[in-house]
Amino acid sequence: MPTLRTEAVSKEFGGVQALKGVTISLPAGSTLGLIGPNGSGKTTLLNIIAGLEKPTSGAVMLGETRIDHLPANAIVKLGVAKTHQIPRPFAEMTTRENVSVAVMYGRRRIKDTKRSLNEADRLLSLLGMDARRDLPASSLTVQEKKRLELARALATGADVILLDEVFAGLSSDELRDSIQLFRKIRGEVGFSALIVEHVMGAVLTLAERVVVLEEGAKIAEGTPDEVVHNEAVIRAYLGFEENDSPG
């Protein structure tokens, strides 16, 4: 299981600097949180790692392999999988078919449809979704669709998983369940996780280290505790200007 790193990754969209030289490191088996206000470049960074966007400059390394020039499907085959912020299930397929496609085409390349469906069932039961496996994916609730995203990412056999706001938009009960579930899965399947959220709760609970982005630049990095007490972070989140801080 290799370390995933971005090295001074910048991205420009038509004159707008979406990312300004962001360097992060995700050692094997660790959990890194990536937080920041809306529009801070979190999703762009994730898309660059997953191969959906190319960086304007900088590099993405998986161990000793440079991966930023590779297409997204090749990156999946190297063991890096991403979930979508807005779930994108194959709506006309059943839940288990959705997962089995990822088993077939992911890193493990289990081409036999029966075996891949069995593996899909195993993952769905790990995620507590047995009862949903024969339903069309379009009929799932938002929370279930987010779980399906995670199931598909796991199904590719990835050892690095990029989670784009899987904990967003959940009620507090659902959030608690999801965090518990995530820990359970982590116990059974080993992988490194890069968790992107704009709400901090889940990230601060799960991540060992946290990187904070603001307007495309990294403004803080540290343990969850260090980050929440960092002044720059507080300013970024609460939107205080230097001269109008309270008191």
């Binding site: 709506a91 890193r107 598909r152």
Partner: protein, 294 residues
Amino acid sequence: MVALAVILSDLLFGIMLGCVFAVVAHGLNLIWGVVKVVNIAHGEFIMLGAYGAYFLNVFGGFNPLLSAVVDGALGIFVGYAFYFSFLHRELRGKERITLRSEMVTLVSTFGLSLFMSNLAVVAFTGDFVGINWSPGTVALGFLELPLGALYVTILAVLIISTSVVFLDRTYIGNAIKAYSQDITATQLVGANPTKVASLATALGFSITMAGGALLTVWIPTGINPYMGALYAPISFVIVVLGGPGKMLGSLLGGLTLGVVIDVLQAFVPVSLAYAVAFLLLIPVLLFRPEGIVK
């Protein structure tokens, strides 16, 4: 009694004709449904399949059933060539097909259509030709069914059902189905979108050209460079009737059109029967643009 026999035989012939139409349309449906490109030159590839069967018959003594197999194999190569010359530039790296790409492919395949039918006039002359193949008839009560048409019907149903099972049950079929629903999500489970889209296009062409060969049984003197101008609209109507991207929709649309045309022929001149059949397109597009079945 006589009238009933006529209607019954028209119905039966309509079903058989509909199955052949269905195959021809199925190739279009696959490309339309998966790659989201409407190939205006579709009819010319049917024509190519029909001429393929004709020349295989003239020079190799092949019957249209055998030719359908050969055409189907050739269609794979033709489909790949089509994908990489007409679609690849428009689809490469895209999350979904853009309006601009839709226009580009519509116009470029329209150009291809004109080019192919005119080239066919030069290569094959404008003469109408046909394949002389009559394996006899079989009596079914008071009806005499031509065996050739019956074999063609069986092969047609076999082609469509095999393709449906292929899409549902196989490694490659699953990726094609996934691609038809979400290109980026397909890429993010590890499938190469170019490989999937080009393969789906190749399959579509394979089926289209095989369909062209099967069609020759129904047009004993009707193979000509401009035949695409009739069979492309028929295919479009069938795909719209059945719903683009619905694989069994081809069969349903084909049967509907075949029966409508054949039964109408009992009452009105042939050309009017086709006109009425095409008229079906308007209410379906207006009221059920997703096809007649949900």
